[in-house]
């Protein structure tokens, strides 16, 4: 005899109830970081569109950033922390294997015993998190889900690195996701390409340090970097032109599929919020995506820098706060980053 299990009553749709954000306290101008990389304000501005990047005070932890953004989003949503059923944190800069930052955040917010876990999808992390939240809500597994993209990239940079460090900022963006009578988060279109794992990478695996301590030889591995870091601790590197080309070749196709999946056309998109990787990438994407001329575009990178998993919710939060975008607007959000993890959704802005 086959036993049939009962499922939760499916929910017709989910929505982002509110977003919130928190940026590193200091807006660091290009002139303050160009010395060790022998660069100039002009070069950085022309190559990236970045004028300042948000960097956190020494005493501000990644948990502090996450909690501030979460509290902001919760306050705007009217949902209390105690009503959260799940907390998802997307990050690559929580430098402890375990426990997950999401569990610490859940406790800090007063949301215990909500389910809590971290996801590692780099700059696509927030969109991966929204995909999870949407699915959890519609399956009836959770009624309210908090998604936080947070990075303290300051802990991961090399001041002498000319490939990526000068782009990076610290911050957190959060979204409270809940039930909706009609879908306000469209289908997620996502994927990855690990064949490009060497395009954005950590210079040294953590296990090297343990092997060193135990006197074990480090394993042979392919040389990833043309430029090797002088730093003992692991830091980030990227092959900028390779990443740029991959993004401008692949992301417009992803955008079209994402918009189609939601039953819309590019002309229906009011707001475009790409991962804030580089203003040049954003501009190049806009040239080929067929969006309306009056589409509102997230350009938070100019002041905040590239905050990886936090960049999309931070850009969204800013557009709403400053009135450039409004509640009910149709927004296309697309994240992409290391491992060439990528994900996009069309969402109705809260």
């Amino acid at each position: 005899m086959t036993t049939t299990l009962r499922l939760n009553e499916p929910i017709p749709g989910s929505r982002i109830i509110a977003v919130g954000g928190s940026r590193g306290e200091n807006l660091v101008p290009n002139d303050d970081i160009v010395g060790p990389i022998n660069s100039s304000d002009e070069w950085i501005t022309q190559r990236t569109g970045i004028k300042t990047r948000a960097r956190a005070d020494e005493g501000t932890t990644i948990l502090d950033l996450a909690a501030r953004a979460a509290e902001d989003a919760l306050a705007r949503s009217g949902v209390s922390a105690a009503d959260l059923d799940a907390v998802i944190v997307a990050t690559v800069t929580h430098f402890e294997q375990t426990p997950a930052l999401a569990t610490l955040l859940t406790e800090r917010l007063g949301a215990t015993p909500a389910a809590a876990f971290d996801i590692s999808a780099a700059c696509a992390g927030y969109c991966y998190g929204i995909a999870q939240a949407d699915a959890l809500v519609r399956a009836g597994t959770a009624e309210h889900v908090l998604v936080v993209g947070v990075e303290r990239m300051s802990d991961f940079i090399d001041p002498t690195d000319r490939t990526i460090s000068f782009l990076l900022g610290d911050g957190a963006g959060a979204a409270v996701v809940g039930r909706s009578d009609t879908p306000k988060i469209g289908p997620t279109v996502w994927g990855s390409d690990g064949s490009l794992a060497g395009a954005i990478y950590q210079t040294r695996p953590w296990l090297d340090y343990r092997r060193e301590e135990l006197g074990e030889p480090a394993p042979e591995r392919a040389e990833l970097a043309e430029e090797v870091s002088q730093m003992v601790s692991p830091t980030l590197r990227q092959q900028g032109p390779t990443v740029f080309k991959w993004v401008i070749t692949n992301i417009p196709k992803l955008a079209r599929r994402t918009i189609e999946a939601a039953g819309l056309t590019p002309q229906d998109i009011d707001v475009f919020v790409p991962h804030q990787a580089n203003m040049r990438i954003t501009d190049q994407l806009l040239k080929t995506m067929g969006l309306r001329d009056d589409v509102v575009v997230g350009r938070d990178i100019a002041d905040t820098g590239n905050t990886s998993a936090a960049s999309i919710p931070l850009a969204t939060e800013r557009l709403l706060r400053e009135g450039a975008a409004k509640s009910g607007d149709v927004a296309l959000q697309i994240g992409f980053g290391a491992g060439m993890a990528f994900a996009g959704q069309v969402v109705i802005l809260p």
Binding site: Q46, Q239, G240, P241, T242, F244, K245, I248, R280
Partner: protein
Amino acid sequence: MAHSESEILEGLAEIVNEETGLPTDAVTADKSFTDDLDIDSLTMMTVVSVAEEKFGVTIPDEDVKNLTTVGDAVSFIAQAQA
């Protein structure tokens, strides 16, 4: 159908014009992308990406740095489509 070298040159000139605003007749085989046309690495990647689509070829990233002049790119694309 394979494009002739003159067609490739003409096509590249159109792409460079589109991406940088330089007049197409400034884009000749002897010009250096970096030194003469003032094309930086990101714009170069855009040109390469559009050229791949236009000519139906693949230009691996590691080969892009060897494409110093417009003529180098024309030869590479001509051989890649063969």
